[in-house]
Assembly symmetry: none
Homo-oligomer: 258 residues x 2
DNA sequence: CCATTTTTGCTCATTGTTGCGCGTTTTTGC
DNA sequence: GCAAAAACGCGCAACAATGAGCAAAAATGG
């Protein structure tokens, strides 16, 4: 690894990482850790705060989750939150201002929803109640697909979702999944859920799949789309073998790092 | 890791932590634990008390009881809550187990949603995000109409709601409204909202309008249904004149009392 | 290679924070 | 009740953090 000065994006990544560990960092501490002046750190923090990636406090910065409470649906089973967050951050780079995006269910996609404050004028279509709750107070245009509420995933699923989805076109669809493997593609536990996912795959110009490494290679019950439906795969870790396989199928892979 | 002076946010976090353990802390104790002057502790406690994070008591601070979590779908301050609750209770009597009901937006209907735990095996269709949030944890079947999210009323409205509503039949529709008067019928502020209301009126076997007396006789902007669409009117108070008028139009009136 | 733009680090005026002194208010002990 | 003690709040000075402006350095694009 060449000893090069860190790029802005790298610095930001590092800041989030440090914050994830310590919950809070001083400007002085970051300045030292990143080997840049405090002025630069302040500019970074300012910019990242505006994009809601962290909380600015006098003297330093605090992790988003520290003061902000996530009560209603506190997923205690939340594992790999840091990995999910990094995946979401990479996915955020794919979103441009004024895009029409679709957000699927799942905690990784939800992490992305929380970051969308960093963009402007989006139209967000979703079947995820949690993502909707997150975006209710944003300035983005929010559209929910109708349908039956599935408690387990807190999403709207089933045949009733079809008419709304079919009357819309979205630029980018950010999908989650329960399992992902080469032979089966995307799989999930519930056929109604799978049905809705397939609907949206047909209506999206670009399909981005967000999965942490624990889902890779693990098939589930109901097929919800083939690998051919996917344009971009964002994950935190992937085996050489799988990387070659999906690459040969024309899927662009983005690594979010460990 | 560099020893740094505690940031304000860190101090506050620590204070809450200590309070969680000991239920109560003295200013002197906090001053020592945090290594800051008592003056600073007092300022911190003052600030946190104003934000309802703890209870200020002379000499120190006490743990703030349950009020901690502010729900994701925060309720705005409600007026006439008692009247609304009584109206909702009367409306609940119209609901039988295993009914298919529609819940409209508005706080009175929301009050009814909260009471639906008292029934079994309902299928609840709604365009209200607040009602949906309320029923997410219930055992009832929950169906949301799709559509565009309108922040003001926290409901889903507009043309996208039509296909879902049109493919359903409901036994009883519980509607709210902004204004109600004899010449204009039901009126509301937003045409998209009115559109969705009209859709559901066509698909409901029985239409129940829930209004507190402050809405009676007060017309608003967009017509969302005529008096002829209504089967039952539940309110807390009504003038003799209006009672005669709606009665002559075949509307059954239920009084919830003052 | 040079011109242009962007990023960075420095200085400095401004603003926010902290601790202390002191007068006032509340509580405590009798 | 009443006086002493404790707690409090206010103003002030010292200090820390900040943002703006500017020049140097680095990246970018002919």
């Amino acid at each position: 690894m060449a000893e090069h000065r860190l790029l802005t994006a790298e610095r930001e990544q590092k800041i989030l990482e440090l914050l994830g560990q310590s919950r809070v960092m001083t400007v002085a501490g970051l300045s030292e850790a990143l080997a840049v002046s405090e002025a630069t750190v302040r500019r970074d923090l300012q910019s990242m705060h505006e994009r809601k990636l962290l909380q600015r406090v006098r003297g330093g910065a605090a992790f988003q989750g520290l003061t902000r409470q996530e009560p209603l649906f506190a997923d205690k089973e939340e594992q790999q939150t840091e990995a999910k967050r990094r995946i979401a951050l990479k996915a955020l780079e794919l979103v441009d201002d004024h895009d029409v995006v679709y957000l699927d269910g799942g905690s990784t996609v939800l992490a992305l929803a929380r970051l969308l404050e960093g963009r402007q004028g989006l139209t967000v279509v979703t079947n995820s109640m949690m993502a909707a709750a997150e975006l209710m107070n944003s300035r983005h245009r929010l559209i929910l697909v109708g349908g039956e509420f599935r408690a387990r995933s807190r999403t709207l699923v089933g045949p009733l979702t079809a008419p709304v989805i079919q009357s819309l076109n979205v630029d980018k669809a950010f999908m989650g999944t329960i399992g992902f493997s080469i032979p089966d593609g995307m799989t999930t536990t519930d056929p109604s859920e799978a049905f809705t996912k397939e609907q949206i795959l047909k209506r999206a110009t670009q399909v981005v799949l967000l999965v942490d490494s624990s889902k890779l290679g693990v098939p589930s019950f109901a097929r919800s789309g083939t690998i051919g439906d996917i344009d971009v795969l964002v994950t935190n870790r992937i085996s050489e073998q799988m990387l070659r396989d999906v690459d040969s199928l024309g899927v662009r892979v983005i690594l979010a790092g460990e």
